[in-house]
Symmetry: C2
Subunit: 388 residues, 2 copies
Amino acid sequence: MNNFVFQNPTKIIFGQGTVSQLGKEAAAYGNKALLVYGGGSIKRTGLYDQVLAQLKEHNIEVFELPGVEPNPRLTTVHKGIDICRANGIGFILAVGGGSVIDAAKGIAAGVPYEGDVWDFYVRKAVAQSALPIGTVLTLSATGSEMNGGSVVTHWEENLKLAHLSIHTYPKFSILDPTLTFTVPADQTAYGSVDMMSHVFEQYFSHTADTPLQERLCESILRTVIENAPIAIAKPDDYAARANLMLCGTYALNGGMISVGVTNDWASHGIEHELSAIYDIPHGAGLSIVFPNWMKYVYRERIERFVQYAVRVWDVDPTGKTDDEIALAGIQATRDFFTRIGAPATLSEVGIGDDRLGEMAAKAVRYEPLGQFKKLTKEDVEQIYRMSL
Amino acid sequence: MNNFVFQNPTKIIFGQGTVSQLGKEAAAYGNKALLVYGGGSIKRTGLYDQVLAQLKEHNIEVFELPGVEPNPRLTTVHKGIDICRANGIGFILAVGGGSVIDAAKGIAAGVPYEGDVWDFYVRKAVAQSALPIGTVLTLSATGSEMNGGSVVTHWEENLKLAHLSIHTYPKFSILDPTLTFTVPADQTAYGSVDMMSHVFEQYFSHTADTPLQERLCESILRTVIENAPIAIAKPDDYAARANLMLCGTYALNGGMISVGVTNDWASHGIEHELSAIYDIPHGAGLSIVFPNWMKYVYRERIERFVQYAVRVWDVDPTGKTDDEIALAGIQATRDFFTRIGAPATLSEVGIGDDRLGEMAAKAVRYEPLGQFKKLTKEDVEQIYRMSL
């Protein structure tokens, strides 16, 4: 186990009906809020009206930034920063999924910063402060509701980059599983792939002597595998939605499940290049890429992949070689993603082989990509080719 | 899953050599600290000198409260409060195990309170604030380093009571596994029983639809079961000590592993009456009581005990009745406690049957005890009798 520092101050308010606590929580952060949301589904479901009523009841003046994209764009973040500065807004309320929350984090960190907030994403500067953020989650996937990470896309430059900061942990997040009843099957599947992928990035590691962390990871994986198909078949199954929501949050809440473990994050880097150019859903990209990454790297520490196959997928090891067991676990992953309706190949989402080299070069822009196996441009291009 | 609120702001600084970060962390909370510690083992190991050097280097004036008892007493807490008030001390540093940290929490909550701090423990008042607390942990057991709970004993009245508050979460806790290398075998065993017992209190529940929480609990239990015997056999095994330390912290860190789950806590109540009168180590008392509580209540939800036996102890269910499987898991628990050197009967720790009725009456003073099965005075007395 490596030495580590862990702190996660976010307050989670979880369960049916908890939006009724929004106004009281928000009121602790001043009387002006920027309400950040996406494409308008919160208006169709009535959540928008509920949120406004809560804020009004607590005398909070509301400014709005609607239209945050599924891969949130820097231009949108800039727009939010401008609104906050022009109106002296001191609190950001994100109502939506990970993209909306990530945009809110960009805005929150950007307002008090003199330069361009993009500096944080290209590693030119480190955020020293941020406006307080609250969230109402409507999609189980990214864990952004309980961590300090955000991913923003610079569309003109086809760059999709991440920023982590202790200052952008939400002060509070309201997690009501019933708000995810209306999430369609494909997005439920992509969200499930996303949370499993977050666990994979923390689980496939060379760090020794981490039995508890490994089991915490396996616990989340098994629970997602059980509950995602139920939520897809029966969208208003409260238990399945609640279990998925908790899994999504715990899968990436500041590293609680992988304290002292060297993480990988190569597959996320590989995927980000895809959605930075082709604007595909993040979870769909991960579904395509991750099993191929697994096949490409599993011999780096085959015993971890054997453990994964046996403990997560109940692969019977009797009479099998380690290679066979590991590959059976990887195949089970692919089959599961297919079973819940997530894509397996780039061609399924309309991506050909014409820009693979360009994407591979960008994926390794800062350094070899990942930790489990440090990937070169050639490695990344090979994983793209396996994904065609 | 029940609705829940979860927040745990404690900053954990984990790993070998992390005491070197103490001064910097402490300096954020002013220039006067009350150093709280126990029987002097920190002087023998050199930790005391290290701590003083850290505080001195950051110009923090140190006042001392040594001699905190293994079951910390209200008189000691009062003494600490007096020292803080007389000297305008604004920060409490606990260096020790759970007892020392619990005493520090009592002091921290008591200083700003006008009445007697005991009011919080007898539920006459609720803490509205507390001085900031930092800890350096020297014993893996209670989880007090990352939660807001404290247990204090009113020796003259033979009362051992708990107080929970969001205000008494430590601001930071330094967890260096090498500081536990000198913990003797018996205390390592009692600490392991204590952390397992904390998990039991959260795991044996009637709350439905909590698959992730159950697996998180099982993950900790299996990891303690693997690592406690190693740490006892080889006290300076870093991996085993680190794994135990992380298990102890995660087992009771504000309920992270049991969010939305109704907890029980009857066995702790039953044990507290024992150590309030006989001053036995808490973990030793739990080792005696818990398997008997299990035997007494397992039919309330036998399937949870079956799951426990199969998943935690690898009991082979083939050809067995549910009763046989559940009892095999309970017996495995008892055998494990015995194997690591923890007691199985009250007579082993010199306790007879003369005050069982008195203790049972006190255990149910506020209400029927526990949630999994709500225990009456007669139930509690029966569990004491099974423990003779």
